[in-house]
């Protein structure tokens, strides 16, 4: 094991800080220095708060020196996707329309991170308003994949994934609407978890698609993710869609999985995914199948399940998510905050609103607003939005039926490894395919994690484990069990990044 602080997992850092092997200030400084050294190349961060992070770290050190009780992850630094509002810290959702906006309040999960006394390193890059699978749609430039800087880091949460993959942060917050935590995790060799919808508060999460958005942890392994998951989860009265139930015991599940025993666990493989596997790269399928073999060796039983409605998941998603987005993004009009364009005394109020949106939104956001507006418009709403809601119900039923016979469902996380910049921006559908395997669980609302399982053409491949609603623990257990079969974390084998 390396001696470098930045190579340690969050669990190790937490123990090290508590046991006095290093201080939180030392730990936080190490990650801030790493950011200084290489983020000029990777460009994972939109904003870095050295002062704030070190202030929190110093408080934790003082508490520990005074023998005070601290939270599990106290003193372990974290990066936050720029779609989550942070009081006093710029929050843009990687959009020009929010350039310079300083939120006057904290998201619930940020409050919890602050309660846990985790130093906040800064805000990470993403596709604008979380719409995209490559982070190429950020209004502030692209983030590079630490495994190959000619390739995308996934999206929308490419910044959080790249920050963790390049060891600029031990942990990060992501948000997953159609795969935005899991797909970047898969293509950067990091661990990403989309918790059960409603189990993590959306209050303070800049809305893309309200019925799908879920914040969750990005880490290097299952246990770290589980520790963060438990720190931010739990009922929030400010989010009416929050589930008022105990947080599933994900930390215990990750520890149980690490023992490498999956006997009696039934894992479903979706027949329709297999049949449609021509969408997936052979190298991805090969790495995935090798991982399945490992799981079988640990005692898991593989059961084929049929989910016929999954074939419609992608079009269903691309009707529901843009519909909700077209309404959620209506508030960006230049009247109350953010960018205001054309306010020169020559334009009417309505023109200013319109010019602001024209100037402030990027091409993918505009595409989805138009798509959603169309899907909700009179005469089309039943055929598009309404029909999509019906299919969504069928997809839920497919999952529910499958979970009657299996404990979890597994698949590749994404059909292809990180692609080269510009490869898929010309054809939106090719970009949308990146979320082929992740979208169904968003439509259902159940949890899904992506754990790195190997390489294809030298690029990381992820295994997705999906669970039933509020069954987040089984996903962590299966993922941690796979990790136990590996000598080293895939994340530790990434090529070293050269600073600029």
């Amino acid at each position: 094991m390396s001696d470098r602080i930045i190579d340690q997992t969050a669990a190790e850092l937490s123990a090290g800080i508590r046991e006095g092997r290093y201080t939180s200030v030392e730990v936080t400084t190490a990650f801030l220095d790493r950011i200084d050294a290489i983020d000029g190349t990777v460009k994972a961060f939109l904003h870095v708060d050295r002062e704030g992070a070190l202030a929190t770290a110093a408080e934790v050190d003082a508490d520990i020196a005074a023998g005070k009780e601290t939270f599990a992850l106290a003193g372990v630094p974290i990066a936050i996707k720029d779609v989550v509002v942070t009081k006093g810290m710029p929050t843009t959702a990687a959009s020009k329309i929010l350039e310079g906006w300083i939120p006057p309040y904290d998201a619930t999960i940020v409050e919890r991170i602050k309660t846990a006394r985790m130093p906040i390193l800064g805000k990470t890059n993403m596709d604008e308003f979380a719409m995209g699978s490559s982070t190429e749609y950020s209004a502030y430039g692209k983030t590079l994949n630490p495994w190959d800087t000619g390739r995308i880091p996934g999206g929308s949460g490419g910044g959080s994934a790249a920050a963790v993959a390049a060891k600029m942060a031990p942990l990060a917050i992501g948000t997953d609407t159609g795969g935005s935590i899991r797909q970047p995790g898969a293509v950067t060799g990091t661990f990403g978890a989309k918790p059960t919808y409603g189990s993590n508060s959306r209050y303070g999460l800049i809305a893309f698609s309200s019925s799908l958005d879920t914040p969750g942890p990005v880490a290097r392994n299952a246990l770290d993710a589980a520790l963060l998951h438990e720190a931010i989860s739990g009922h929030d009265p400010r989010d009416s869609t929050a589930i008022d139930a105990p947080v599933p015991p994900v930390v215990a599940a990750a520890r149980a999985g690490a023992t490498g025993d999956l006997s009696g666990v039934k894992l479903g493989v979706v027949k329709e995914f297999k049949e449609g596997s021509d969408a997936a790269e052979p190298g991805v399928i090969a790495a995935y199948e090798a991982a399945v073999e490992q799981l079988v060796k640990l005692g898991a039983e593989i059961v084929e399940v049929s989910c016929p409605s999954f074939a419609y998941a992608l079009p269903t998603y691309y009707l529901i998510a843009p519909s909700e987005a077209s309404s959620n993004l209506a508030r960006y009009d230049g009247v109350r905050y953010g960018l205001r364009a054309g306010d020169d005394g020559k334009h009417s109020l309505e023109e200013v609103m319109s010019l602001t949106r024209e100037a402030g939104f990027g091409p993918e956001v505009k595409r989805r607003i138009i798509l959603g507006t169309y899907a909700l418009s009179a005469g089309y709403v039943d055929a598009f939005y309404g029909k999509a809601q019906k299919v969504r119900t069928l997809i839920k039923q497919d999952f529910e039926q499958a979970f009657e016979s299996v404990d979890a469902i597994i698949s590749p996380t994404t059909p292809f490894v990180a692609f080269k910049f510009g490869e898929r921006t010309g054809d939106p559908y090719q970009m949308y395919l990146a979320d082929l395997y992740t979208i169904p669980s968003n439509l259902y609302g159940g949890p899904g994690v992506s754990v790195p399982v190997g390489l294809s053409e030298g690029m990381p491949v992820g295994l997705q484990v999906m669970g039933p609603v509020m069954g987040d623990d089984i996903t962590y257990r299966v993922a941690a069990a796979f990790e136990s079969t590996q000598d080293t974390l895939l994340a530790d084998t990434a090529p070293e990044i050269e600073g600029k």
Binding site: Y203, D333, E350, V381
Partner: protein, 496 residues
């Protein structure tokens, strides 16, 4: 201005079909979806938060008190209460609407299928309620620098979001046919009844002049026996009197167009308080497509039957029933009670009685002198600057013989212009009845001396002739004598 028919010609040729949409601001302590205060009249933008300003990331939480109030309104309007209901988004851009969508209800309103019974000209009408739903109010925009105060041509627009997010209940009637020439009166009677019902529930102050109750009037005309015509929707109808005027004007305007073979366009019109006319607004043909869809940020509501029944049991006596009870207590004929209702005087009279006046006196003042004053001023009775307690005080002074009717009317003059209570006005203006018997006797003696022939007649038993002497005494005392007392003194002095 467009041509108008006389109202009589219009209703002779066409049958109106009415529809009313009423918005009522609930007086919950906090807003519909956040914890901000709902107090009226605060400094602009002091009652706001991330939720009602629609800051990025903020989420709504429905106000249970508002849901409860809406269910109460629904129950009082004889509606059925939904077992499964949810909010929806109504999408359109407007600067005083922070989210650029309004959170409202669409296909699943909280309450449906009710009715309100009203009586006009002794005839009963049942106004059927289609739905009662809950939504949020918008902010207020002030356009500065333009000629019209409207958005077009303004050089600056200022927005106050204090009102944004205040709970608003919308009550929509079904079309009301069959009212004929009484359409304006039926419309007014319905809005009045609705207001009284909501007021009795204590869930809103329902003050039209403050905007906490606002009315849109839908109206179409058709030839007898023909299909219903195209309707217009008149907004800004913000007093009971305006409801009546708006209906009347639309009947006259639409009938003139129809007479010339011109089609009525389905459009939104605005009521002009000054002229009593309606002017065109947005035409529905070019209207926004609101792109309604279920609000994904709010949970579905499933009001339990136990809760609904609890609320039903807590409802106060319905105003109509209460009126029947009061009519009996006050011993009024149907027609008199109808006048009381039409004058919107039920509560004024009730309060006056509560302040000590006899019911007959309370009714007399409010329906007589005070109604006349209100008509002269073109105001609602309740808007007069005199309180029920003051009316009771005034009547008390009459009962004590300190004022006669004529003096009492002069005292009212003073009270209405803010000179103080009746006692204060009487004192300031020197309007007390002369009760000094010595002074009255002297005045009577003078009158007898000045009119010996009349005095002789009275002595001869012609008591009716006393009127001449009474008049002379009243003139001498500038009306400040009690006519009854004067008459008695005269008769005593000239008794055989």
């Amino acid at each position: 201005m467009s041509k108008l028919n006389t109202y009589e010609d219009a209703v002779a040729a066409y049958e109106p079909v009415l529809g009313l949409e009423t918005h009522i601001e609930l007086d919950t302590r906090t807003k519909m979806f956040c914890g901000c205060s709902t107090t009226f009249g605060g400094e602009p933008n002091t009652q706001v938060c991330p939720v009602c300003l629609a800051l990025p990331g903020a989420l709504p939480v429905a106000n249970r008190a508002a849901i409860e109030a809406t269910i109460k309104i629904g129950l009082a309007l004889n509606c059925s209460i939904a077992e499964w209901t949810r909010f929806a988004r109504k999408n359109y851009f407007y600067p005083d609407m922070p989210k650029n969508f309004q959170t409202t209800q669409y296909e699943e309103p909280l309450c449906e299928e009710g009715y309100v019974d009203v009586t006009v000209d002794g005839k009963p009408y049942r106004v059927e309620i289609e739905r009662v739903h809950l939504e949020e109010d918008t902010g207020k925009t002030l356009h500065v620098g333009g000629a019209t105060g409207r958005i077009h041509g303004a050089t600056e627009s200022l927005v106050d979001y204090n009102r944004a997010g205040i709970p608003l209940v919308e009550i929509v009637t079904k079309p009301v046919p069959g009212t004929g020439a009484l359409a304006p009166e039926v419309a007014r009677a319905y809005v009045t009844e609705l207001r009284d019902i909501v007021r009795s529930l204590g869930v809103s102050d329902v003050r039209m002049e403050q905007g906490s109750m606002r009315c849109d009037v839908n109206l179409s005309l058709n030839k007898p026996g023909a299909e219903w015509g195209t309707r217009t929707e008149t907004k800004n109808v913000n007093s009971l009197r305006s409801v009546e005027r708006a209906v009347r004007h639309e009947v006259r305007r639409q009938s003139a167009l129809l007479d010339e073979g011109i089609k009525i366009i389905q459009e939104t019109r605005h009521f002009q308080e000054g002229t009593g006319e309606t002017s065109p607004g947005r035409s529905k043909e070019e209207a926004t497509d609101y792109r309604y869809f279920p609000e994904p940020d709010l949970a579905v509501m499933e009001p339990s039957r136990e809760w609904v029944e609890e609320l039903r049991a807590s409802l106060p006596e319905p105003p109509r029933q209460r009126r029947e009870r009061l009519q009996a207590e006050w011993s009024l004929a149907d027609k008199e009670m109808q006048s009381v209702v039409n004058a919107d005087a039920v509560e004024l009279i009730e309060s006056t009685i509560a302040a000590g006046a006899a019911s007959s006196s309370a009714v007399k003042w409010w329906l007589g002198e005070l109604s006349r004053r209100a008509n002269e001023a073109g105001e609602e009775l309740g808007a007069l600057q005199i309180t029920p307690a003051q009316v009771a005080e005034l009547q008390g002074m009459v009962d004590d013989g300190r004022l006669n009717d004529k003096l009492a009317r002069q005292v009212i003059d003073g009270v209405l212009v803010g000179e103080g209570s009746p006692a204060e006005v009487a004192q300031k203006r020197g309007l007390e009845v002369v009760s000094d018997t010595g002074a009255l006797e002297a005045a009577v003696d003078e009158a007898i001396a000045a009119n010996p022939a009349v005095a002789d007649k009275i002595r001869g038993g012609a008591h009716a002739a006393a009127g001449v002497l009474i008049g002379a005494v009243m003139k001498a005392t500038k009306g400040q004598a009690d006519a009854g007392s004067v008459r008695q003194i005269i008769l005593d002095k000239l008794a055989g």
